[in-house]
Structures are given as C-alpha cells and as structure tokens.
C-alpha cells in the first residue's frame, strides 16, 4: 500500500505511473481511519481537500515528469498543529485556540505547497509545544504505535506517531528542547532539528523564540534530507532567519564518512539512563567506527546545567510569547468586570496546567528583583554551554549521544512530577540552547517490550550535511529503518476478522 512508502519511493512510483497521488492519499486516509481511534495522532483531517489536492497533483503528473522544484508532488504530509496553514485549524493543542482558523500560511507551509505536497491534516501535540509526552494536549492523548500504553514522546508526538504508523508519508514538527528528536526516537523514526535560523519561523506559533525551530519527521534519512531541502532557506519575514545558502542535502548523503570524527562526551554516559539504551548507542558508535569514522573523547563540562538553564530561558520567553492570548483579538474570551479580569479568566480557562506552570515560572524569572539571579544568569550559562560545543566542534564533525535516556515510558507515569519529565530531556536541550543542529536516527530496540531506541548526532551550526551523511551511512548499514510497528501493517479494509487474525508476514514496503 502506498502509505507505507517513503517520499523517495513514492515519488519514484508516481513518476513511473505505478501508483497515483489519489491512491497514496486515500491509503493514508484509510490508515488514519483504521488506526486513529487507538493512536489519536490527528486533531483534524481534511479528507475532501486532501483528495482534491491529490487529483490536482495527478493531473500535473499526467502532463509529464514533475518539475525539478516539485520534489514532493503528490506526497501526503501532516503538520503539527502549531504550524499555520491557511484556512485550517491552528489549535496548538490548546482550548484557548480551539476554534481558531489560520488566516495565513507559514513560510514552510507555502514551501510545501509549492513543492506539490498534499496537506493531510493537523497532528496532535503537547499544548503550545510544552511537554515531552503529548499528554498535555487539551484534546486527546496520542499513543505510541509500538505500544499503545506508552507515550509517543513530545511535544511533536502526534506527528511522530503518524509517520511511524504510516498514516502519512512524512510530517513537520517543531523542536524547542527536543520536541522533534525525542518523539522520533521513541517512535522509531528519523527526526531532524536544523540549526537555529536555518528554517523560517514565520507562521510557527512561538513558544521560545530563541530556541524554536521547525523540524522534519521522516521514515528514513534520505526523506529527512529531501524535506529539509524544501523547508530550509532565508526568509525576510523571519528576522532571525539566517541568509546562508541551502546546500544539496540529498546529493551529499552517500559521500564517504571515512575520516569523519565523532565525539563522545563523557557527561552524556549517565547512570540514570536505561542500560539497553546505553548499549544500543555504544554499539551504534562501534558500527560508525567500522564504517570508517574516528571516535574522539570530548567533554561538554556544562551539560549538568542545561536543564536548569533551559527551564528558565524557555519559560521566560514563553511567558512573553503567550501574553498575546488575552481573549481580545482572537481565541477564547470569557468576560470579566474589567479588562484585567477578562484576561485572567480567559487565560485561566483556556490554558492547561503545564502551560500555566511554565508561564508562572517564566514570569517569576523575569520579575523585578529576580531577573539577574535567574534569567540573566541562565543566559550566561547558555553562553558557556554554546562555547563547550563550539570548542568540541574544533576537534569533531559530530557528537553522538542517546536521544533519550529511556525508551517510551507509560502514559501517566511522569505526570505527577513535572521535574522528572523535564529531566528526561537532558540529551536534547543543549542543542537548542547552543543553537546547533541535531538528528535522531533509530539504532535498535529494547527487548521486553520491543520499544525503539534513538541515536542522536549533534552537528555544528549549519553542519546538517555532516550529520545527515553520518546518519545515512549508519542507517544503510543497519536494519532498523525497515522495521515498522505491528499496528501499522496493512490489512484490507474489511470486516472479515479471520484476515485480521492472520496478521502479516514480514515488513511491508
């Protein structure tokens, strides 16, 4: 079934006329229909519009090969519900925007449309991108397709689950402290966070403006390279977007990795991590060494302060960014005796508890008397963290770490203690603080139950080519990218239950 294909496989088959955009889109919609009652990856699915876009793609394909810039022609893609698409909901997983319809496209959405992609729907997320488990969505909780009692990761959990479950070909998410890479790791797919400023944030609802980046959730590294190539680029509408030319990420993938230097930071080999995770990552690094990379021991001395620095900086920036949700121009409005009461009641009713926690923490960190002790100090620690990385990158081309210290934990397991949830981001946060790039690629599974483990490769600023190349070499030398969750296996859309019992034999491609 075409929903099981990657971007490169699907576009190849479309070019040969072996399948159609409509078939691919219908297959994704069928998969959503079949699985989403259990997975809950989607908040909104636009069936009629997506099929109409598919038909238009088919008409274009009938005229001849897709133009060079339409690398996604006929490919169904999902968007995390924090990325604006004109005429579509933009809830950010929050009640405060439950009825909000976006009047404009994000730059990345425009780029996807121009590349011929089909926009399938809106993926579930932690409210305002605040969370690591997608349990903070105001609407539904997404489940991990590998084990429905476990989290898919967060905050881009819906997008990651949708890709892992073959409900779409690929998806865009956002990453402020790991929210693309960590769910990718937990769902067994590829997730890349570009360097800060590589991809435009215009149309991305802001959580922490100096940390946010839009990232790609894909079935393999080649797809990540393709999708990154589409969305990357300078944008005058985002004043933090950096005018650096976009290289040919796909063309550079298969280049030799011999002699590339990979750093292992001793601070990242921690006791608190799951031993199977540590083992899988160590084995992955050995594989890279066999493929010709040199392994170099490095130190990132300020690693231990990353979580603390992040939760001051991100929450401080969030408290400013979320001030716009005041019930006046858009969003939920609850009347009050005066404007202040209107703001308080609207925000009190519209925001969930994690969002409120972070706004309160951020407000405190910025408040008079505490600004120097918290926010300013955290920003100085941030400088030290960035320096650690830049120094390390003088000796290495990439740094290898586990993406997450544990595989997917059970739903509800970390809800009581926010701090425990925060600490689970230890390996991904520094990347956003330092403004560098990072990719997570599958590197194995835990034994019982079978849950995905992710290897993270961190790269220098605008060093996406290097980490893509290393990730590709590793992926092609291992079987992980061919494995899919049993749930995703295609079955005929039928009520013949004996067929369902038979299951399916082997990977479906």
């Amino acid at each position: 079934m075409p929903n099981h294909l990657t971007i490169s496989e699907l576009t190849s088959r479309l070019a040969k006329g072996e399948t159609s955009a409509r078939q691919a889109t219908q297959a994704c919609l069928d998969q959503i229909q079949r699985l989403d009652g259990q997975v809950h990856a989607f908040l909104h699915c636009r069936q009629a519009e997506a099929l109409a876009e598919a038909d238009a793609a088919d008409r274009a394909l009938a005229k001849g090969p897709a133009p060079a810039d339409q690398v996604l022609l006929g490919v169904p893609i999902a968007l995390k519900d924090v990325i604006a698409a004109r005429g579509q909901p933009l809830t950010c997983g929050s009640k405060i925007l439950a009825n909000f319809i976006s009047p404009y496209d994000a730059t990345v959405t425009e780029k996807l449309r121009n590349a011929g992609a089909i926009l399938l729907g809106r993926a579930n997320m932690d409210e305002f991108a605040m969370g690591s488990s997608t349990e903070n969505s105001a609407f539904v909780t997404t489940a991990n397709p590998w084990d429905l009692e476990r989290i898919p990761g967060g905050s881009s959990g819906g997008a990651a689950a949708a890709v892992a479950a073959d409900q779409c070909i690929s998806a865009l998410g956002s990453d402020t402290g790991g929210s693309v890479r960590q769910p990718a790791a937990l769902c067994g797919i590829v997730g890349i966070k570009p360097t800060y400023g590589r991809v435009s944030r215009y149309g991305l609802v802001a959580y922490a403006s100096s940390l946010d980046q839009i990232g790609c959730l894909c079935k393999d590294v080649r797809d990540a390279a393709i999708l990154l190539g589409v969305i990357a680029g300078h944008d005058i509408r985002d004043s933090t977007s950096v005018p650096v030319p976009v290289p040919d990420y796909v063309g550079g993938l298969a280049r030799d990795i011999r002699g590339m230097r990979i750093g292992l930071a001793k601070e990242y080999l921690i006791d608190g991590a799951d031993p199977e995770v540590n083992r899988a990552v160590r084995t992955a690094v050995e594989t890279l060494e066999k493929l010709g990379a040199d392994i170099v021991e490095i130190s990132l001395p300020h690693t231990d302060y990353a979580v603390a620095a992040y939760y001051i900086i991100a929450t401080a920036e969030a408290s400013a960014n979320l001030a716009r949700f005041d019930g006046i121009r858009y969003g939920l409005r609850i009347d009050g005796a005066d404007p202040i009461e209107l703001y308080s009641k609207s925000r009190g009713a519209g925001f969930g508890s994690e969002v409120k926690r972070r706004i309160l923490l951020g407000t405190y960190a910025l408040s008079s008397g505490y600004y120097d002790a918290y926010y300013l100090r955290a920003q100085k620690v941030r400088t030290l963290i960035r320096r650690d990385f830049l120094t390390a990158f003088e000796k290495v081309d990439a740094i290898a770490t586990p993406t997450s210290p544990t595989p997917a934990f059970k739903l509800g397991e970390k809800l009581e203690d926010p701090l425990q949830m925060y600490l689970s981001d230890i390996f991904t946060l520094s990347c956003n603080l330092a403004g560098i790039c990072g990719i997570s690629v599958p590197c194995g599974f835990t034994s019982h139950p079978k849950l995905p483990i992710g290897l993270q490769l961190l790269g220098k600023p605008f060093g996406e080519e290097a980490i893509l190349r290393l990730a590709y070499a590793y992926e092609q030398a291992t079987p992980w990218h061919l494995e899919k969750p049993p749930l995703a296996r295609s079955m005929p859309v039928t009520s013949d239950f004996s067929l369902i019992d038979k299951g399916h034999l082997g990977p479906v491609k």
């Binding site: 005058i236 231990d304 001030a323 009713a349 309160l360 920003q379 925060y422 330092a434």
Partner: protein, 95 residues
C-alpha cells in the same frame, strides 16, 4: 530550601492568570520543587561571561520602507470573539 518568596498569587496576577485555590496550591508546590533544582545554576562561575540572548546574533535586520500586500481586514477579523463594522469589540477601558 525553597526559593526566596515565590508568591504564587502575585506572580499569577502579573501573568494575568486566574487560578483556583487548588491550582495555586499545586503550582506553588510543583514550582517550588523546580526552583530548588534550578538553584544549581548558582554553582556556575559566570564571571566575565556575556549572556546569550540569541544563538546566532544578527543585527539591524530591516526591510526596505515599501508598501506590500498584507492580511485583508476580514481575514484578520475572522477569529475575533466579538466584531462589528470591521472593528473588534472590547470591554470598556476607561469609565
């Protein structure tokens, strides 16, 4: 050891967030816990270190002073809670 005077009620007012007494109690406890953890930032020697506001500092990012198409009024108003004659209705601010 809890962070010095984390007055949840005052902070909630600054943030224009209405909290139930139960929410206040829970938030105060949870955030007190988080703030205790964040105290470790005080261990770091930050003498002479400049703060990083942005990972890739760009300066004077401006565009030319030229009129270009923007969002149409009706589009901008489509999500307004209360609207009339192309204006968003808001509660009275000044008596």
């Amino acid at each position: 050891m809890s962070a010095p005077s984390f007055d949840i009620h005052y902070i909630a007012h600054l943030a224009r967030l209405s909290l139930t007494p139960e929410e206040e109690r829970q938030a105060a406890a949870q955030l007190g816990h988080v703030l205790d953890y964040i105290e470790k930032l005080k261990e770091v020697d930050v003498t002479g270190v400049e703060p990083t506001a942005h990972p890739f500092p760009l300066t004077n990012v401006v565009r030319g002073d030229a009129v270009s198409p923007s969002l149409a009024t009706q589009e901008a108003l489509r999500n307004a809670p209360s609207e009339e004659n192309g204006l968003i209705l808001v509660p009275k601010i000044v008596e």
